[in-house]
Structure formats: C-alpha cells, structure tokens
C-alpha cells in the first residue's frame, strides 16, 4: 500500500511528497544536493534553522504570497512555490 501523496511545483519543478509534509520538506526533496530557500541581504544561501516558525530563514513565495514560512506550511496539491525571494 502506498501512502497518499501531493504534487506541487518548486521553482517550476514538479515534486511529490507524502500528504501532510511541509513545504520545507518539499523544497528539500526537490533538490537534496543544495536546497534553495532564500538569499540573505549579502547574497548568502540560507535554509531552515529553527524548524518551528521562529527564525524566518525558510521563507519563500507560495502561490504568489511572499514571505511565507515553508516550515509552517503544509504542502497542498498544485501549490506553486518560488524560492530566493
């Protein structure tokens, strides 16, 4: 029996994750080599630090809404996620 999954797009790339997974997990799944989340003011790559919605390092654009915390958002079918905002 396979677990139910949802399909979303991370910077245009289709990703499949288990139902209930966070957008942060989906981004990490989309590129396990070096997941992209955001760039700092001086251009350094950044990714989740606190895992619980406090640090804001995982913020991305979800369905056009900027500055959404990927760790607090559950991945939904058809979601469009844009990183490096």
């Amino acid at each position: 029996m396979s677990e139910p999954s949802v399909h979303l797009h991370i910077d245009g790339v289709a990703v499949e994750v288990p139902a209930g997974a966070s957008v942060a997990a989906a981004i990490a799944t989309s590129s396990e080599v070096a997941p992209r989340f955001r760039r700092s003011r001086s251009g350094q790559p950044r990714a989740p630090l606190c895992g619980m919605g406090v640090c804001f390092e995982c913020r991305v654009t979800i369905d056009g809404a900027a500055h959404q915390r990927a760790c607090l958002t559950v991945a939904r079918e058809g979601m469009q996620v844009r990183c490096d905002d």
Binding site: S40, A47, F56
Partner: protein
C-alpha cells in the same frame, strides 16, 4: 470579527492542551490558538510516519472530542492587550476577547553563532527533528548532533529512526557533570526510563561528552564540521549539523501584555505567583514559558492553570505537590548543562550574528547596549524580530549592560535584549500583513493601550 470566550489558551503543546481540557471540564468555553498546522507543540510534534506517544494521542483526542473547545491551528498572534488578543487565522484577522488567558507559549532552542552556522544544512538539534517529522528527507544522510542538554538524545533518536546516519552526539558538558545529572534522575522515574530507552536505541552512536562545535564549512551547504575536545580538533565530513544549546522561554506575548519577567541568567521567563497568575490580572502562564521544566511540568502546570482560569481552585491545588516535584527537575538543567566558555567564544569577529540583517559580531562590539546596536546596525530588526540573535547575544553577553543586569541588583536595569525588555514589546507579536493590522483594534483602543504602556 470578534469572538468571546471564557478561557483563551495560547499554544497547543502539552501545557496548552492540558489547560484547555481542564478549563473546559470545569464548564468554561475555551478557544485554543496555535501557530503550527497540527497540535502538539514541539515535544509532541506529530510525525508523518509514526504514531504519537500515548499521552499525546489522549490529549489530542480529548481536545477534539470536547465541543466546548474551539481549536484554531495555524493562527498567529498579532497584537494583544489585557482582555483582547488579535490573531491572524485563515487569511483574516480575528479579535478574541477572554475572561482569563493562559499563556502556554513554550520555548525555542538556544542557537548560538559559530563560523559557518548560516550555511544550509546547519540547524538546531530539535529543529532538524521537527523538520524530519514533517517529511524532510534524511535517510542516508550523515548528521552530526551537537550542543547541550537532554534534547540531543531525543533528536538523534528521531533522526536515526528516519534512516539518518548519526555520526556522533557531541555534548559540550564534561562527563563528570553528566554523571551528576544521571545520578539524580531516579527521583523522576519517567525521565530515567526515557533516558535509558534513548541510550539503548542509540547504542551504535558515539556519545561524546566535553566536545563542542567550533565551525562548519561548505560552499552552498555544509560539507564539513569542526569539533573540539580534549583530544584536539577534528574535522568530520557530513551533510547536516544539528546543534542546539538547550531551550529558552518564549516571552514575547507575555511582554506585550505587560507581564513581568524574571531573568534566569541571562534569559527571561514569565513570572507567576502560586496560582500561576502573571503580574497581569487573569493572565496565567504554564509550562516552558515560566522556565524550562520539560513535558511533565508542562502538562501538570497546564492543567493547574486551566483549573485556576476556570475558577476551579480546589482542583488546581490538588495538583500542587506533583507540580513542585516536576519543577524540581528544572533546577538540574542549568546546573549540569551550563555552557562552557569555548561555546561562547566560537563566534569570530567576522561571524554573522544577526542572520536577518547580516550583522557580524565585530559590528556589535563597542555598542553600549541593544538599543544602540539596533540603531547603528539594524541588528535584531529583521523578520525574526531578534528572536534568534537576541537570545544569542544575551547568552554571549556581548553588551556590557547585560553583565550589569546579571551581576548587580539594579532596580531599573537597562534591558539587554528585546527579549528582556517590556518597553521593547511592540506589535506585531509576529510579522503580519498590513490588512490584519488595519482597522481591527480601533485607534481609540490603541491610544489607550499606548497610554497604559507610557504609565509603566
């Protein structure tokens, strides 16, 4: 939109769930507000692939079975004043009015700067545990778990259960201090059983005391970590470094309400009286917000606070002995997991301290206090609102005034960080959309609020 309730509970971790159930069982109409998508807080964070522990399942079941508890998940507190809390939920702003409020806002990890700590792949220890429970791919990855405190074992066990290769658990405390901690655990049998269980599950993972992280390196993500111990410096290739230095209480909402805080050198928690009431009437607090005490303390204090908030004082008092015993455990933690100087000294002048504004440690040196640092560097003024760098700078005692506060009794100490400064508590409690702020608390209400702040 405005909603009324008897008891409003903020936070759906063990303390908040217990508070909501206790208050409802004494006839109160309860609203439970939580920021995460699912109840449980951090310690009972639900795992996609594994069932929750029995106590957590029972708490979830009771909350959902009670018609008199309305549970608002993914709801964020924006602003608050006694009697009113403004939240953002499902894209709209909502004002909640309460007769009694229970703050069960929990704690966050203490995350300290070291060279390379901003690299992707470097997280808190509990942080990686939380991410993995929500589907973060960890199978086959090489992870070094480091920092301090009992949470490291729990995090490592979760990572291993999800297929990670845990290279080692590096605890900065020396072996003698850890033995002292273990010798005390018989007084809390549930903790002893839990610790023994974790050690058994992690039998193949080296547990290294007196070992700390010096630096992490890599290009677009971490590829190597540098640890130090009496053996000297070692470099270890890895995919993740999960490093947390214990917990600090979340006090922002309490501050916004004007609740007095207590400094537990150098981090604040909410001060409560014997009835778990804060310095603000009808505002109670329970669990980690009142000082780090663990899940057992949180559950008992949550139940007590819920009873007091619903006027069931007798039932609350019946829990007092259990609460005092659970709280005594809290005293062990700072004693046995005190951070060594080398952990504080890991950050170099070039190390970024404020991750939101890219402010380095050298930019902060010479600043008299937090306020001066903010004005000169924007440190603490980014999205996290100083939640990460505030606690780190307090722990590192970067500003002279921090030392003055912790060492000398001063009736009007200069608040060292936003976390300790009631005057610094301004809305929003969390960054929010302008639409959520506009027109919800009326201008008349806000001005009376500002007056009451000015009078303090």
């Amino acid at each position: 939109m405005t909603e009324h309730c008897d008891v409003l509970v903020i936070g759906a971790g063990p303390a908040g769930l217990a508070a909501a159930c206790a208050a409802a069982s004494h006839g109160a109409k309860v609203v439970l507000v939580d920021m995460q998508p699912r109840a449980g807080g951090q310690v009972w964070r639900q795992d996609l692939r594994k069932p929750a522990v029995a106590t957590a399942r029972a708490a979830f079941a009771e909350v959902s079975a009670r018609p008199d508890i309305r549970c608002l998940q993914q709801a964020q507190v924006v602003a608050a004043r006694p009697g009113h809390v403004l939240i953002e939920h499902a894209g709209t702003a909502m004002e909640l009015r309460y007769r009694a409020l229970v703050l069960a806002t929990g704690a966050r990890e203490l995350l300290l700067p070291f060279p390379g700590w901003t690299l992707p792949g470097v997280t808190g220890a509990g942080a990686l545990q939380a991410l993995v429970k929500q589907g973060w791919p960890i199978a086959g990855k090489r992870v070094l778990v480091a920092g301090s405190g009992p949470l490291l074992l729990a995090a490592a066990a979760t990572l291993q259960a999800h297929g990670a290769q845990v290279l080692a658990i590096c605890e900065q405390a020396p072996a003698a201090q850890l033995r002292g901690f273990a010798m005390q655990l018989w007084r809390w049998p549930s903790k002893l059983i839990q610790a023994a269980g974790l050690r058994t599950r992690l039998a193949g993972v080296p547990y290294r005391s007196g070992t700390w992280v010096r630096a992490a390196s890599g290009d677009e993500r971490v590829t190597e970590v540098e640890i130090e111990s009496a053996r000297g410096v070692e470099r270890i290739a890895c995919d993740h470094v999960a490093v947390g230095y214990g917990l600090v209480a979340n006090t922002e909402l309490a501050q916004k309400l004007g609740c007095e805080l207590t400094m537990q050198d150098p981090h604040p928690h909410v001060r409560v009286d014997t009835r778990l009431m804060t310095s603000v009437a009808d505002v109670y607090a329970a669990g980690e917000a009142c000082g780090i005490g663990g899940v057992d303390t949180a559950r008992i204090e949550g139940a007590m606070a819920g009873c007091f908030a619903a006027g069931a004082d007798k039932e609350a008092e019946a829990l007092r002995a259990r609460r005092d015993h659970a709280r005594a455990f809290a005293e062990l933690l700072p004693r046995h997991f005190a951070l060594r100087k080398q952990v504080h000294l890991a950050a170099t002048p070039q190390t970024v301290v404020c991750r939101c504004e890219d402010v380095s440690l050298s930019q902060l040196q010479g600043q008299a206090d937090w306020r001066a640092a903010k004005l000169a560097t924007r440190c603490g003024m980014g999205s996290c609102q100083g939640r990460i760098c505030g606690a780190a700078l307090a722990e590192l005692r970067v500003f002279d005034s921090t030392l003055a506060v912790s060492n000398a009794p001063n009736p009007n100490p200069v608040p060292p960080t936003p976390a300790a400064s009631a005057q610094g508590a301004r809305p929003p409690v969390f960054p929010t959309r302008l639409a959520s702020l506009a027109g919800t608390f009326s201008s008349e209400r806000e001005s009376s609020e500002n007056q009451s702040i000015a009078q303090k």
